[in-house]
Assembly symmetry: D3
Homo-oligomer: 300 residues x 6
């Protein structure tokens, strides 16, 4: 089971700088083969199907807890997409073609299917698919997969960072470079524990350091790359048998934190009337408010 918090992992800059194609690029990090939907669901299903979990508890705890963080990453990237889309169109009458401004945008689904919101597809609009989930059941093979997946995910983030300097995209991608980097190291260390081979020496792949990305660097300065959370008040603590020692890149000591990091308020999204979202008129709001306050059933 999971609980939900009404919070998000970082504060995303409130800026109106509409850039539909930047939003499309960020979608790759959401619904692409190496996007957050993929990391989330790989670990989610691996956690369901984990065998011999008592004997392999630290590995099980690792997969269980990282899954929870990935949900927060999916959330974060989605809000980055939304911020890039914010302000793309202006309120006009239908005959005045309020959506013409985005007719040439690469990813039409944002405007025709949705109302300028993130969706589980990639930068070309191709939907995320369950075929991206790998789970051989073999511990070493699954860890190797996860290590590779996180390296691939990191590369994609580096490229999206380089493709747009939209403040919201940069803030989120920079942060995720750091958190994704934590997962790269976590799976490398897990592989080391499982096999004795010094896989962490491969890190980072690509060899460019996060520290060269200003928006990532600012989090590494605060040590964000050294902390792994259990995302549970009481469970999954044995991840400290894997997440231990020092960080392979800068040698800082690693730390496991029971629970979740402090969060930030989730951004508000304004109405977009030309997209009929949420499509509630002032008068409707009044009627709805009345019905919300009614005791008992609304209609009989």
């Amino acid at each position: 089971m999971f609980k939900r918090m009404n919070e998000i992992m970082i504060e995303i800059p409130e800026v109106e700088k509409p850039d539909a194609n930047a939003a499309a690029a960020v979608q790759e990090l959401l619904g692409g083969k190496f996007g957050e939907m993929s990391t989330l669901n790989n670990y989610l299903f691996q956690s369901f199907n984990f065998r011999s979990k008592r004997q392999l508890k630290p590995f099980y705890d690792l997969i269980m807890s990282i899954t929870a963080e990935e949900l927060g990453h999916v959330e974060l990237v989605s809000h980055a997409v939304n911020k890039c889309l914010n302000g793309s169109t202006k309120r006009k009458k239908p005959d005045q073609s309020p959506l013409e401004a985005v007719k040439d945008a690469r990813l039409s689904y944002h405007f025709l299917a949705g109302a300028q919101g993130a969706m589980p597809f990639d930068s070309m609009g191709n939907p995320w698919t369950g075929a991206y989930v790998f789970n051989s059941g073999n511990l070493v093979e699954d860890l190797l997969h996860n290590f590779f997946l996180e390296c691939g995910a990191r590369t994609h983030k580096m490229k999206v960072y380089e493709m747009t300097d939209h403040p919201a995209a940069r803030a989120v991608v920079g942060f995720l470079l750091v958190r994704g980097g934590v997962h790269v190291v976590a799976y490398a260390k897990a592989l080391e524990v499982a096999t004795g081979v010094n896989v962490t020496k491969l890190v980072p792949i690509p060899s460019l350091s996060n520290k060269l990305f200003t928006e990532a660097h600012k989090y590494e300065e605060k040590g964000v790359h050294t902390k792994l959370y259990t995302w549970s008040e009481n469970d999954f603590s044995s991840i400290d048998q894997i997440w231990k020692g020092t960080h392979p890149e800068d040698g800082l000591p690693l730390e496991v934190i029971q629970g979740a990091p402090e969060g930030f308020p989730i951004p508000d999204a304004p109405a977009v009337e030309e997209e009929f979202a949420p499509g509630i008129s002032a008068e409707d709001f009044k009627e709805i408010a009345k019905r919300l306050k009614m005791a008992g059933n609304i209609s009989e």
Copy 2:
């Protein structure tokens, strides 16, 4: 953000009654168009993209909190699949064809790609896809969609229940009929609040009552169908402005419960050597145990 609990929503019967095609049928409820992956991701993305959430807080809270329950449903169905697969094959030497017993099973991915574990695909092995997510941004349209989606999901559950009497499948599907039924009513009530139209009168669709399904009936007797959880200690409480009055089928009073229901231990899954899962020998276990206990980095 989300937290994870090391618990599952119900106790699943521990039974070894391998039935690969029953497992395949249950997969429809996991990765099918109307499976739990669909309800989960529809609400997840609708929650990210929700507009005017301050003015429409009870609706926002509804979508936010139901998402969390859906994660638990994905988990539950996955374990049902696993229980149906449990014992499908026997340990033998490779030359003795240990997997021959499942050569004719309908869903070969369970055995060739995975190690007899649930995956995000449907009863024919077609992967769940992000194209199943709908989010127009229009409040009434999204609620109408969700109401329809839950009715469809309910129908699929009824059919899977009728297709197999595997105890684990029955237990999970029976329970989910009830909880899914709660979501049907929740969206019907939300539509009523939003529009004033008595949509709950349409319930149940199909008109067959859950009470005719023994494994669902036993939960309705306990009132499980009258409770909606916030899945958060403090947030999302305003769902009580929607989840109020009485249940449209039996007239019992509805109740919102802050937090999550009590959970049960997640089932253990045994090693399946003929699938190399987890593929750790007795000797490996010893080496791993040593490395887990080491202080600091494993290798230098």
Copy 3:
């Protein structure tokens, strides 16, 4: 069985205003999840699989006859796409790159696979798929689906209308807003007859009236939104047991018309030599004309 008429539902403006990305947008209404291919095929297959049709004849007749109109909608949208593409390129020699003008167009299939003609794909070029067809067999559930589908289809039309003011696109989309609106109401009324719940009160979804779209308004002024056709000389007349009373939005009396509406000539499409379409030279035409006039087999 179906018969074909050499006519189309409205007159489409003859204008050369090439706009490849407008054509791409209109494709969403053709091959998208909520496009005309979807409404067509949903009703087509529901009509094939309809159970207890004698007892439920008015519902059966409704599904049977609407299917026929949808074929005309698929046709209409296709011609709108074609008109938007018309004139995109100029005749030049191959070495002069006659297709360079459309190299940056969003939907390359229009130019590389086809010869600037409509195809059953959506605004991103993803093909329409049979996975968009829903048919539970349960009458209420299927009607609910159809009602939702038509609301979604309407929303997409509103957005495409707002995205381009191309005269052909506007003319077709405006008209289809009205006819699609008829189907929204028809399924709402059918749901009312089947369940007694006043679903028509939900209409319109989104709440913006068609009358705010000039190209739709002009048809509503003529009462086009009050008429439902049987699309058959003799059959399907019992739809008047569902399509009765008044229109929920403006209270005008509803009317069933036996047969089909009057049609208009189908637009001609000029040769596009740089696309080799139809690729018949003046000399070829002469030879072909001769062979067409021959009695009996052409070659022995």
Copy 4:
């Protein structure tokens, strides 16, 4: 525009011989790459995009009119699927697993998604897709494609005929071998007219004659293979400039018939309560009957 008739092209044997895997095989002829959905939609879109139709009227008329017949073929194959499914399950209480009888059926969608009805997918449950539509715009190339497509479609029919002797499947497939054979010859003749090359000499591909298939032979004896219909009272008559001379296999004179062939009543489909289809109780029927008879709006 199209009109619909409440008739079907042949009488399908009323037999209860449930065979779910035969139904799955027949689906290949419906939603497979070479199924009736493909022939239908290829010609439908080619007809929309036809260029220089005035100069090439007989070819245009051919594509226009054959499209209409293909709709009837889609209908026919769908009913064949339904007849193969008919009786697959028995009415029982949910706890008695009424659908267990079909748990091992190859195509689970028939039972879990639908209520034992035909759907636009192929023999493996993969949905028909718009990617199967070809339309280069080049007359000769499109005719060559259509000729090839019809040969491929014929081959698939021959194989399905050989795979099951279910009376309904045999009756429909036998008939469609003949009518599909007509389209093979029609496109061969069209190619001859367009190019002067004696393509009809290639017929039949594969070289096995329809006459060796008893259920096809019986229609050829009646000359069904020599007739091409305009599927319109007044239009498309110029197809007689292509469909002329003699049949390449048996030398019988070819004939164009204005209009459609005589049809047969469309089979009834019984309720399947264990699939909730149509899910209308005796009491519901009464209520519905009342509402159908009401004058004016059902609810206010």
Copy 5:
């Protein structure tokens, strides 16, 4: 079995004229339904499954040997894509957005998934799929398919040629028009041998001659269109029983050449640091060089 040569079929102009959308267009010829991946794999699988190969040796040899040439075509088109992408971005620090220049490029996968290299997808980024492979096993039907496939492939090449005058694209596409034209004729002749029908008279489809495409014409002047290679030192020579007589367009005598044509050096591709490709620093190169020179295992 296959052998590989470190050579490519033609010399591709070394030019830096980055044009991401031209690259996208060329992708259609690589991974599109009518791209080189399709011709390659159709013949590859037809060759594996060929029945009665002793009695039909010249046909078998034809399919076997053409497959090998298609591998060279896949290679050639890939390098054309690469040349169009060459120079798309400039080396900058991550914060300076080195990939911003391609943010609006139609095909984001080139930049986010890959490092500006060709991939097996089409001009819209949709992946090549095995569903494009046809193999009925019937000799005449497969030859007819291949003839049609090559005509379609030719048409696509003509359109891409017309869409961009990028020197590398033109050089490759011009050459492939000629070599693809050879395959058109080869399958036409094979059909003639198999059936006696003069299919070659249909050539060329579309009727526009290759000679109107300067970059194709220059190869035809050298007679490239008259030669068919065995792509083997000793085998497949009986293709000369099919590839004989004269070319249907210009009447030149046809010639079979044992072996492969002379090749050219494969172009070098420079490092693209902003894409981390190959991502090897100067220092890394030194370390690698050392390890390459070591005798025996690198690490113990």
Copy 6:
């Protein structure tokens, strides 16, 4: 460029033991995500897009040459599929339902689309897709991917081996376990050279030795697992800077062999008349033989 040999890598047992579901299982090794089509195309495209190949020649040579071997693997697996299908049906008249014997086979495409031949799809009939190709351009990341891919491919082979003891499947899969194992080690060694990390110590994944699979063991006894071929007479020799030292499992010295291994005759496939393959009658053969012997064009 590639050359083709009329030979195959091993001798496949000539046995008639039809097992359609075994054939379906083997398809996973052909067109599955971890099948030979995937290894082939990953290396093929990586070789096209290789950057800085002069400085990284041994790596380039490795990718170039392994690609060629993978073509031979695709061929081998395809013939294994064919052998499993061999004899599935018997020659009968169409009315006698010659294909009824395979109506319940899991993979209907083998019989309805093809004529009992291998196709590029997986064990569920889902087509291989270009989305399975990974090429980041980063040398270390691509090598890591390839290492992981080969481990996954090995696991799949082990499972298919365990699923069927069909002699042809066993022979091929056993051999490929060995050759695939060579590629596992090759990429591990390449990673070691590139990074200095002792990745080969991870081998084998899963930890079960090939030597426990009798059909693999027999090849390892001959040292087949110690040899890497250049698949070229003259090129790609620098792979000996990577393939050097000893085998990580048994310590045998590794060896590079210039050229290709000795091959074996490709199996004949008999006609299957009930599938119309090749569909050439005795009389047709005579006519064809005549036309093959004609000098010059067949028809004028």
